[in-house]
Each structure stands twice: as structure tokens, then as C-alpha cells.
């Protein structure tokens, strides 16, 4: 009995350490990879606490291995969009310009009921109010309302917005995003020309968004290490 108690204390400390090591991303919504790691850790920890015939090391080592792999994978994801999309998937646009993309919903195996339910949790009961909606990598739906349904702010009061999709990312961490470019009808050469006017290369850009009018919003990469 005391052995189980002591093992429980050790594994409690280990799981807390593991969750802290995985970082704050773990506390919010989980991506598929994080969900798998979390479930596996809880399962291994339970087995190791209960079964005293199994050495504690055989529980500790897989937990630490999974956590280390998760952290290393997230580090690799920072540097490579392809690997990031492979591990976490990518957000999918299901409503654009107020029109539901049915083929995208089918590809996601997302029913209209699922979509409506996700929108209702955000206080949207009429799908015709939605200008743009994205299914995030966590499975949550983010919706952007049409201009005439947006809450009134001093800015919108002064100049009411025309109905348009929100700005989209076209350069992320020095990588050009072809899909966004296609959606906005903005060619790569036009963007490069605009960047050159500001004495920038694509590789110098940390984030570049463009709205439907073609207006770019550029955030340069910060040079040097974080202190």
C-alpha cells in the first residue's frame, strides 16, 4: 500500500513536470498530436501507479520520451511549415464570402449540424450572418461576421465597412503561402514588388497579411536572440 502511495507521489510530480515542460500550449485547446500525448501520459501514469510488479522506470521512461518528442516536434514545427501541417494539420476555410464550402465540409467529415452547433456556441444562430469561418487545427470553428452584423464601434460608425473576408496571411515566417495568394487574387510578383519598395525580401518578413483590397500589413523578422 505504501509503495503505491510513494509511486503515486513520484508520478504526480513527474506528470506535473511533463505538462510544464510541454508548455502553456497544453493548457488551452489541444491539437491532435498534443491530445494523443496527453492521453498516453495519463494512461501510462495510471498503469505505473497501480501495478507495483512493473518497475517505476518502465513508466517514467515512456512518459519522458513522449514529452521530449512533443517538445522537439513543436520545435521542428517552428522551422518548417510542411512538418507543422503534417503534425498539426492546417486550418480549413468552410465559409468564404458568406458561402459554405460543401466540399471542404465533406473533406473534414463535418456535418452542417456540427458547423451550426459550433457557431451557436459563439452566439451566432443565423448562418447568413457569417462572412468567413475557419475550422482550426484544434477542431474549433472561428467565425467572422458580415459587416452589417458586426458590433458597433466608433471606427465602424465613422466608416461602415463593405462586406469582405478578413485579412489573410500570405507570408508566414519567410514562407509564401500559395493558397492564400490564390484566394486573394494577389500574385507573388506583386507582393515581392511591394516588399522591394520597402527594401525587404520575402525571407525578412515574419508575417504579412493582405485584405481583399490588396493592402499589405507587414511585420518584419526581429533580428538577434530573445533575452
Amino acid at each position: 500500500m505504501l509503495t503505491v502511495f510513494i509511486r503515486g507521489i513520484i508520478l504526480y510530480a513527474l506528470v506535473i513536470f511533463s505538462v510544464r515542460l510541454m508548455g502553456k500550449r497544453q493548457i488551452g485547446d489541444l491539437s491532435p498530436a498534443e491530445l494523443v500525448v496527453t492521453i498516453l501520459i495519463s494512461n501510462i501514469a495510471t498503469l505505473s501507479i497501480e501495478d507495483v510488479s512493473v518497475p517505476l522506470f518502465t513508466g517514467v521512461i515512456p512518459i519522458l520520451t513522449l514529452v521530449c518528442l512533443d517538445v522537439l516536434a513543436s520545435y521542428v514545427c517552428l522551422g518548417s511549415r510542411k512538418i507543422r501541417h503534417m503534425i498539426s494539420g492546417k486550418p480549413r476555410i468552410v465559409i468564404s464570402n458568406g458561402v459554405i464550402d460543401q466540399s471542404e465540409l465533406r473533406a473534414l467529415r463535418y456535418t452542417v449540424d456540427d458547423l451550426m452547433s459550433s457557431l451557436r456556441t459563439q452566439g451566432i444562430f443565423d448562418i447568413s450572418e457569417v462572412q468567413y469561418a475557419v475550422v482550426e487545427t484544434t477542431g474549433a470553428v472561428s467565425a467572422y461576421l458580415k459587416a452589417d452584423c458586426l458590433p458597433l464601434t466608433p471606427k465602424t460608425l465613422a466608416s461602415p465597412e463593405a462586406a469582405s473576408d478578413p485579412p489573410q496571411v500570405i507570408i508566414s515566417d519567410g514562407d509564401f503561402i500559395k493558397a492564400a495568394e490564390d484566394r486573394l487574387g494577389l500574385s507573388e510578383s506583386e507582393v515581392i514588388k511591394e516588399l522591394k519598395r520597402k527594401h525587404l525580401e520575402v525571407g525578412d518578413v515574419f508575417l504579412c497579411t493582405a485584405d481583399s483590397s490588396g493592402k499589405l500589413n507587414i511585420t518584419e523578422k526581429r533580428k538577434g536572440k530573445r533575452k
Binding site: L21, P55, F57, C68, V71
Partner: protein
Amino acid sequence: MKRIVICLTIIAIILAVGIYALASIDGSNDRLYGHIEAVLAEYESGGDPRPEIEALRTFFEKKYVRALGCFVNDDRLGELSVSISRLVPMLESDCDEFTAECEAIREEARQIYIRELPEIFRIF
């Protein structure tokens, strides 16, 4: 970056512990084989191997189990313990299988080492 360093350190420690476990099992097995050889040599020469069996049991309980307890499943060590505890009764009843039981102990110990080796067929 700090997390990456911690993770790489943990992975290095895991690899080191794995190699240490293998070396520890191998070293403990060598000493166990030595005790078994001593028991068999005394038995085959017609002498009384009881002190050697006692030395084998003491080594197993005091050193072998403590060295391997962290890495090896209790059930496997339990099987070895049962085999060792059968040696004296077998000797006293003049059982023909005494030598075979000693060989079984050696084989069980060898299996403990072999099961720890990261071989492809064992991984999958």
C-alpha cells in the same frame, strides 16, 4: 530553447540509463553464473553444495534483486527466486533434475538480459 536543452538532456539520460541497465544486468548475470558454476562443480565432484547454494541465494536476494529491481519486471525475478529456492529440497531428495534446475536458473537469467536488448523483432 531552454526546453529543447532539457529535452535533449532527458533523452541522453534515458539512453545512458538504458545502457547502464544492460551493463548492470550483464554484470549481475556473470556473477550469478559464477555461483551456479560453483554449485554444479561441487555437486558433480560428489561434495555437499549446500554452502554454495546458500551463497547463491544470498547473492540473489541481497545483490541481484537490488541491482535489477529497477529495470526488470518483478514476475521474472520471482520465477528465478522460485527456481533457486527449489535447489536445496531437490538436493535433499536426491532428485535427478538438480543439474537441469541449475541450467534453468542460468537460462532464466540469460532471458532477462536478452529481453532487455532492443532488437527489431522485440520492438515490433
